[in-house]
């Protein structure tokens, strides 16, 4: 049974080396995805130190930047993703579970 909002998400997280910020962002992202995307996602970490040309190609200014590749339209969020609510708004993710426990 497929619910309408279950799609496959492709997320790209742009970082610049293995900085605390980057690691934190990655951790935050994984947590949010687990909670709200129930496995229907793929996170790609892109290190601009290794691939600097992507900073231009993908128009990345701030680090970290999270880009929602799929579903379209593309959405960009910057920051270490510690503010979950803003992340959700930014990704246009409707929370799957209610927040109250």
């Amino acid at each position: 049974m497929d619910t309408p909002n279950v799609e496959f998400w492709v997320l790209k997280l742009y970082v610049a080396g293995q900085t605390p910020k980057s690691l934190k962002a990655f951790a935050n992202l994984e947590k949010i995805c687990e909670e709200h995307l129930a496995g229907q996602y793929h996170i790609e970490a892109i290190d601009l130190m290794e691939k600097p040309q992507l900073a231009r190609d993908d128009q990345i200014l701030a680090i970290p930047t999270l880009v929602r590749q799929l579903p379209s339209p593309i959405r960009k969020i910057i920051g270490d993703l510690s503010n979950t609510e803003r992340v959700l708004i930014g990704l246009n993710l409707v929370p799957v579970k209610p927040q109250t426990h």
Partner: protein, 477 residues
């Protein structure tokens, strides 16, 4: 390398801490890929509008500029002007500490002018004033006020004005080369005719003249000047005379100045005519006009170019408020006025000022004839200066008075002559009489002498005869 950095606010949700390392990486990559020595960031405002955390932004920008400096590149950053006293909207000048240039675009009286000011330039002296600049097909040009020391080369050479009788009023030589001449005049007084005469005179000397016409089209001007016997067409064909007509309201002052500068550099004229300068004087902020004209004249005087301006003034006045702008930087100032006498309209020309020239302070009547411009001496009648037919009448009157005087003189001389003749006659007569007397007297004298002689003779004869008688009568005794 030209790179477009897209920053769209809507896309971004700031979800926590971040920095702009992405920008650094991108810049670094771009610089390295072409070995760039110069970087332009245009404009930094985009970052401010795209990213809401001003604190992070500021910190990162500070870091960025230091980073650029460390890399040894020269960076030009553009940013928006702040309101009021601040130079930039976001206090950018604090970070950019080496050189700050402020650009402004002001519109006054429908004409816009761009200004530039070097606010700060660490490690170098700089002009601190505001300089107008313009951007045109050849790029950016700033014309700062040069020659503030007023030390351009000065010439002793004199140029004919194109009107012989005007040259006479100017020590019989005309204008100084490299000087600035202004002809102010009411409408229709013949200012353009004076300009054209001057232009013609220059071309006849083999010199080049740049004629900037702000009122009349070239063809019209050439046609009109033919009516006073000035044919400019051949000079245009010989490329000695170049016309550049345009409407003054088309561009701002700065643009005009820059265009003139370009034309002067291209054509290298010895004479420049600006006919008229009126619209510039009246339309804009007078300080700016004065500054612009000063710089224009500086530009030309440094090249020893003689400048000829015309200016329209309203009837009755000679000095408009607007003329104040220009009079102090003008060397020779002529005024043309209309006078109406007995239903006739004539023109007068005055020399208001002529630096370095002992000029005639007389007024002349200014005539446009088919042989060119002529200046005639004015007559002073009972009611002042006379011109036109009033002048002719006065001249006739004076001529006849002169004739009468002459005749009277002749008469007197004749009388004298007659008297002299009379006197001489008298003398002759007296002489004759005298001579007659003399001869008479002489004759009488001679007669008397001869009678005397006769008597003496007689007496002696008588004596003799008596003696004889006596000797005869002696024996009787």
């Amino acid at each position: 390398m030209l790179d477009y950095v897209q920053v769209e606010r809507l896309e971004i949700e700031e979800t926590g801490e971040y920095d702009l390392e992405g920008l650094f990486i991108r810049l670094g990559y771009a610089i390295d890929s072409i070995g760039a020595k110069r970087v332009v960031l245009d404009t930094i405002e985009v970052l401010f509008s795209g990213l809401s955390n001003a604190g992070i932004l500021r910190a990162e920008l500070r870091r960025l500029f230091r980073w650029l400096k460390d890399r040894g590149v020269t960076t030009v950053i553009t940013g928006e002007r702040g309101l009021g006293e601040s130079l930039t909207r976001h206090g950018l000048e604090e970070y950019v500490s080496d050189c700050v240039i402020l650009l402004e675009h002001r519109t006054e009286d429908h004409i816009s002018t761009r200004h530039l000011r070097v606010v700060k330039y660490r490690g170098s002296s700089h002009g601190t004033n505001e300089y107008p600049f313009l951007i045109d097909v050849d790029g950016f040009s700033v014309l700062p006020i040069t020659s503030t020391a007023l030390n351009y080369p000065v010439s002793e050479e004199r140029l004919s004005s194109g009107v012989a009788s005007l040259d006479e009023m100017l020590e019989e030589k005309g204008y100084y080369r490299g000087s600035s001449i202004l002809v102010s005049g009411e409408a229709g007084t013949g200012k353009s005719s004076l300009s054209a005469s001057f232009a013609q005179a220059a071309c006849l000397r083999g010199e080049r003249c740049l004629y900037l016409s702000f009122e009349e089209a070239t063809s019209q001007l050439i046609r009109d000047m033919r009516s006073i016997g000035v044919d400019l067409q051949p000079m245009v064909e010989q490329n000695l005379l170049r016309f550049h007509p345009s409407r003054p309201t088309m561009y701002g002052l700065e643009m005009h100045l820059a265009i003139i500068h370009k034309l002067v550099l291209e054509f290298q004229p010895q004479v420049v005519v600006i006919d008229p300068i009126s619209t510039f004087l009246s339309n804009v902020n007078s300080l700016e006009v004065h500054s612009m004209l000063t710089r224009l004249i500086d530009l030309l005087k440094t090249r020893q170019i003689t400048t000829f301006f015309t200016n329209s003034i309203s009837p009755g006045s000679y000095m408009e408020q607007s003329t104040v702008n220009i009079s102090s930087i003008i060397d020779t100032w002529l005024l043309l006025r209309n006078v109406e006498v007995d239903g006739e309209r004539n023109r007068l020309i005055y020399i208001l000022k002529a630096r370095g020239i002992a000029n005639s302070n007389q007024i002349r009547e200014f005539l446009l004839t088919s042989n060119g411009i002529e200046l005639k001496e004015v007559q002073i009648g009972q009611s002042g200066v006379l011109t036109g037919s009033a002048r002719l009448m006065q001249e006739a009157r004076e001529r006849s008075a002169e004739q009468e005087r002459q005749q009277a003189q002749e008469q007197e001389q004749q009388d004298l002559e007659r008297k002299r003749k009379l006197m001489e006659n008298n003398i002759a007569t007296l002489r004759t009489e005298f001579e007659a007397e003399v001869s008479e007297t002489r004759a009488k004298l001679v007669q008397a002498q001869s009678r005397e002689k006769q008597r003496a003779d007689e007496q002696s004869r008588m004596k003799l005869s008596r003696k004889a008688v006596d000797s005869e009568t002696k024996p009787l005794e």
